[in-house]
């Protein structure tokens, strides 16, 4: 008789069934889980139960967001398929069912086009899951502004004013202490032309007019600038495990380089009469959808507001709300096709019945 084994590592759970035919392994990662409870809803054997996620989130208690009863679990994988954040994964002989065509999976994606991206990092800053990394390569400063600079060492009195004034740290002096054999204040003065931006501050501030400098851009304009030299290049990276496809990057991108496809469509309704402004929903929401906007400057408001542009309709806020003030409806669940009638039916039942 084949039986399941369960292994709990910290808050992560692993249920296994090994037979001579195959090895089935369901792995749950608690740090990825957002507490939406979709797994518990779809489980055909009622093996999964969602915990008190509001309390777990707010107290930081050492408890998993879901529990799996290994005596009820049959390792079918139906929980892993619609998990919006891939916190659950079923592997058959070490291969994830998400890589198998016969198993349906949610149609969701997030990508940043390197052709369009200008590496402004707006998405990196806005991403509520810190899933985006923008690595940028800045243009060389010396190629953006050119000119000429010359210091007349005979006139220079080595006062060091130019060195102190230079905003680009391009001037460096090496002072020599006066001695009886050479009773003058002297120094080596060097201009780093890679750093110099020809702002002419040194020339203007020199008390003895020892510096001759000219900026080519100021004199002739930018005609000799190579457009390629002015470009910031780089690369973007989205951590798929952390990404929840919330759409913040898409909304905030100034050049439409980020594209997000969401698996669920729906509607989020707040019952302001019931809401007691405890803020649990704000804490649990993986997408920064919910907030209490300031009523006046510096004063935290108590009227809950939702920006549905960023909502993935996972329903975690509804689960966490202690006074049932939030209602999340799912009207569409987009997934790849499956020939299994039972999977089709269970997935379609994730839509809110009306």
């Amino acid at each position: 008789m084949v039986t399941n084994t369960k292994e709990v590592k910290g808050k992560d759970i692993c249920v296994q069934r090994v037979s001579p035919e195959e090895k089935r392994e369901l792995a749950y990662k608690d740090d990825v889980c957002v507490g939406c409870g979709i797994c518990a809803k779809i489980c055909p054997t009622e093996a999964i139960e969602l915990g008190e996620i509001g309390a777990i989130e707010r107290t930081g208690v050492d408890e998993s967001k879901i529990s799996i009863d290994e005596t009820k679990c049959v390792l079918c994988g139906m929980c892993s398929s619609p998990c919006p954040v891939d916190a659950l994964d079923l592997k058959l002989d070490e291969k994830s069912i998400k890589d198998m065509a016969e198993y349906p999976k949610l149609i969701k994606s997030a990508e940043i086009s390197d052709d369009l991206c200008i590496y402004c990092k707006a998405c990196e800053t806005a991403c509520p899951r810190d899933a985006i990394t923008i690595a940028r390569i800045l243009p060389e400063r010396s190629k953006l502004v050119t000119g000429e600079i010359e210091i007349d060492k005979d006139t220079c009195i080595s006062c060091g004013i130019c060195e102190e004034m230079c905003p680009a740290d391009a001037i460096e002096m090496e002072h020599h202490e006066p001695t009886s054999s050479d009773p003058t204040v002297s120094s080596d003065i060097k201009v780093d032309k890679e750093k110099c931006v020809y702002c002419l501050i040194c020339r203007k501030s020199c008390p003895v007019d020892a510096i001759k400098a000219v900026c080519r851009s100021c004199s002739y304009g930018d005609y000799d600038l190579n457009p390629e030299d002015t470009e910031t290049t780089g690369s973007s990276f989205i951590d798929e495990e952390a990404c929840v496809n919330c759409g913040w990057c898409q909304e905030i991108c100034p050049v439409d380089a980020a594209k997000v496809e969401k698996a669920f469509e729906g509607e989020l309704t707040i019952n302001q009469d019931k809401c007691e402004a405890c803020g649990t929903c704000v804490d649990i929401c993986p997408c920064n959808v919910l907030s209490f906007p300031e009523e006046e400057f510096g004063v935290q408001g108590d009227k809950l507001q939702a920006d549905e542009r960023f909502c993935i309709y996972c329903g975690a806020c509804e689960n966490a709300c202690p006074v049932e003030a939030i209602d999340v409806k799912r009207t569409a669940v987009k997934h790849t096709p499956t020939k299994s009638k039972s999977w089709e039916k269970q997935l379609s039942e994730l839509k809110t019945q009306t």
Partner: protein, 153 residues
């Protein structure tokens, strides 16, 4: 004693396979015994009639008991399959309803390897099913029906 019962079961299987037209060599290979042993079996030598009687009684157990007992005695999947299938006189047909979720519990349970998953749905291979009903018993969605198709002999 278990050894003798196994010999009895192999004897019954060898006789039946020869009747089905297999050569002694083929039978020896399938049952992993010497060809001379097959020959002895067929001549009624080197085997007590008691062993054969006990084996015959076992083959007439209900399909589940016959299968599980044989598997327990042999502890070998392939030989269990051959012996049980050859000595079972009845045919069965399994049907799987659309409510099947493709969990594969039946696949892992079936000692005769008669079930496979096709597009997240179990399919029972009637050629191998011996009607033990263990798949039906473990199915979490009650999706499997096993029916006897004729009474044979």
């Amino acid at each position: 004693m278990p050894k003798h019962i196994v010999s009895g079961l192999k004897y019954l299987t060898a006789v039946e396979l020869i009747r089905e037209g297999l050569s002694q060599k083929e039978v020896a290979k399938i049952l992993e015994i010497d060809r001379s042993t097959v020959s002895h079996y067929l001549n009624g030598r080197n085997l007590s009639w008691n062993s054969i009687e006990v084996a015959e009684i076992i083959t007439k157990f209900c399909p589940k008991d016959f299968l599980t007992l044989t598997y327990a005695l042999l502890n070998d999947s392939e030989k269990t399959r051959v012996i049980v299938k050859t000595c079972s006189k009845k045919s069965y047909k399994g049907s799987v309803e659309e409510s099947c979720i493709g969990c594969g519990l039946c696949v892992d349970t079936c000692l005769l390897n008669a079930i496979v998953l096709d597009d997240l749905k179990a399919r029972v291979d009637s050629d191998w099913c011996n009607g033990c009903n263990m798949c039906r018993d473990v199915c979490p969605t009650d999706s499997i029906k096993i029916l006897e198709v004729n009474n044979g002999y």
